[in-house]
């Protein structure tokens, strides 16, 4: 399959994530949209990894590596995302305990 299809898919997922973050008001859903953005990136990384592997057998292309480092990067993103989930859910729970809501419209006390 041509690489462009993967790019379109990943960018579509990423855009859904971005739009979700900008429009939704529920902290948990915003959080899920951020995770969607990260996973779109993971998908694209794996696709690019395969693409560079294919390129490396083609002598005409000037390629530095065979794409293995992208597969490693995916694991790092997963670990960091897990750390972010731990901290983020703790913050959301802390807020829920105080105001019994996870609606980000409540986040306006600091404005004035």
């Amino acid at each position: 399959m041509p690489i462009n299809l993967y790019i379109f898919l990943a960018l579509a997922l990423f855009s859904i994530g971005v739009i979700g973050v900008l429009t939704r008001r529920n902290a948990i859903i915003i959080f899920m949209c951020i995770e969607l953005m990260l996973n779109a990136v993971n998908l694209l990384l794996v696709a690019f990894s395969k693409m560079h592997l294919a390129d490396s057998s083609n002598k005409a292309m000037q390629v530095v590596t065979n794409g293995a480092d992208a597969q490693l990067f995916v694991f790092f993103i997963m670990v960091v995302a897990a750390a972010e989930v731990t901290v983020g859910l703790a913050i959301i729970v802390m807020m829920y305990r105080n105001i019994h809501s996870v609606d980000v419209n409540f986040l306006n006390r600091l404005k004035n």
Binding site: V41, F48, V63, V64, D69, I77, G88, M95
Partner: protein, 458 residues
């Protein structure tokens, strides 16, 4: 390498200290001694004495610039501990953990000052950010602190997502995460990926350093977080992210061929304008300092605008001057009972030392000669003039610096020329001496800035 490994280890040591003792003075002593050790280890590395031999396969590069920056960041943190360690312990019951998180942040700072691949840039930025989310929300019962933590977390991880997309697109174009190799590799037909990746990376870094138009989270987060942690966030962390920003774009801009300077100059002008104009209208000194940190970020962006020798020297001086002054002001602010401008009324009569040192810090932030803030701004503007294009930006920056004098001097005016109680908490003599030491350093480096800059070359 010394700094990265030691700071991570010291973070773990402090976590264990928290298990074995709840004695506050023990925790404080361990943290301060640990930081001193870290600082000495880093200075040892500057002199070529490595504690650990690690083959990083060119993923990390330790040059004088990065090591000097580490030294400045650690010294500023040491002063911050000496001034505010008691106040850190007052935030909540988990005193040792706050210090541990600060050490982890320092580990991230020393990674971003030496990264050479996009993977370590990403990890470094995340190691800085994640502990900061926790520190922002550490005052658990306070709704403002909760709100600041949630806002910071959502904005921070959103910009992380954007940054990752940028990194991946650049990887797609070049086939490597290494910055050196990426500059040599060229794949025709994929330039558009590289450029859009670079643009996304620029946007996400602008988010992290709170450059306009991505600054909107900053005042709320700085205002809501416990004041001691705002101090750390606005100084050492911000400078650390700036170093990453400068290191990254020093290499990447040059190869792209587009008129990046136009984009950077627009962002710089917007940051200067919004930061300075909004700061005028604030009633709370803490919020004014949050906007002033946006305005100062505008000046630091000049290092990105004109990447030459002068701008490298300038960013080092700026880091030092801005960190010293802001840490000092925040340490005084923590002791105030009232954070509004009126709260400072008559401080010169009740606490003359505090008022005098705060005046020196404010003069340095405003960039008055004889203070380090003057030379920091001078180097930044001189580097922009030397780079030759977009001279309107230099004039605009000077105008903004003049505007900034208004709101800094408003604090001085309240302290010296208005009547009031100037109520503060108990001030220990040691606190006064450290403030005096910091004010002395600001004037010393303001007269002899080469004392610092010589380390870059010898």
């Amino acid at each position: 390498m010394n700094a990265i490994i030691l700071s991570a280890l010291l973070g773990v040591v402090l976590m264990f200290t928290g298990i074995f003792t709840t004695n506050k003075s023990t925790i404080r002593t361990v943290a301060t001694a640990g930081l001193l050790l870290l600082l000495l280890a880093n200075i040892a590395e500057m002199n070529g004495w490595k504690l650990f031999e690690v083959n990083t396969r060119n993923m990390l590069v330790f040059n004088k610039f990065g090591l000097l920056f580490n030294t400045i960041a650690f010294s500023a943190t040491l002063l911050y501990f000496l001034l505010s360690a008691r106040d850190i312990l007052k935030v909540g019951i988990n005193g040792a953990e706050y210090f541990a998180l600060i050490f982890f942040i320092l580990c991230g700072v020393s990674i971003v000052s030496s990264f050479n691949t996009l993977l370590l840039l990403f990890l470094g930025i995340e190691i800085i950010s994640i502990p900061l989310y926790i520190l922002t929300g550490s005052d658990k019962r306070n709704l403002k602190s909760n709100e600041a933590a949630l806002k910071y977390f959502l904005m921070g991880s959103f910009s992380t997502g954007i940054m990752l997309m940028g990194i991946v697109l650049m990887y797609g174009a070049k086939g490597t995460f290494s910055i050196d190799a990426a500059l040599q590799a060229s794949n025709p037909g994929r330039e558009v990926w590289y450029t859009s990746g670079l643009l996304l990376l620029f946007i996400s870094m602008a988010f992290k350093v709170s450059a306009a138009p991505f600054h909107f989270w900053t005042p709320d987060v700085y205002d809501g977080a416990p004041t001691v942690f705002t101090s750390f966030m606005a100084t050492i962390v911000k400078a650390g992210v700036f170093i990453a920003f400068v290191r990254l774009f020093e290499y990447s801009f040059s190869g792209s061929g587009y008129d990046w300077k136009l984009i950077v100059s627009i962002v710089t002008a917007a940051t200067l304008f919004i930061g300075n104009i909004t700061a005028i209208f604030q009633q709370s000194v803490k919020r004014m300092l949050a906007y002033s940190s946006i305005a100062q970020a505008g000046f630091m962006l000049f290092a990105l605008f004109s990447y030459n020798t002068l701008s490298r020297e300038g960013i080092i001086l700026y880091t030092l001057g801005y960190s010293l002054a802001t840490i000092g002001i925040f340490a005084v602010l923590v002791k105030m009972k009232d954070y509004t401008f009126e709260g400072f009324n008559g401080l010169a009569r009740t606490q003359p030392v505090l008022a005098a040192t705060t005046t020196i810090f404010l003069l340095s932030l405003a960039g008055i000669p004889m203070t380090i803030g003057f030379f920091a701004k001078y180097f930044m503007l001189a580097s922009a003039v030397k780079s030759g294009s977009h001279l309107w930006l230099v004039f605009f920056a000077i105008l903004c610096a003049v505007v900034s004098v208004y709101y800094y001097f408003r604090v001085i005016q309240s302290m010296y020329f208005k009547d009031g109680a100037g109520a503060t908490e108990e001030i220990s003599p040691a606190f006064r001496w450290i403030l005096l030491l910091m004010a002395g350093l600001i004037i010393l480096f303001g007269i002899f800035p080469n004392m610092i800059l010589n380390y870059l070359y010898f």
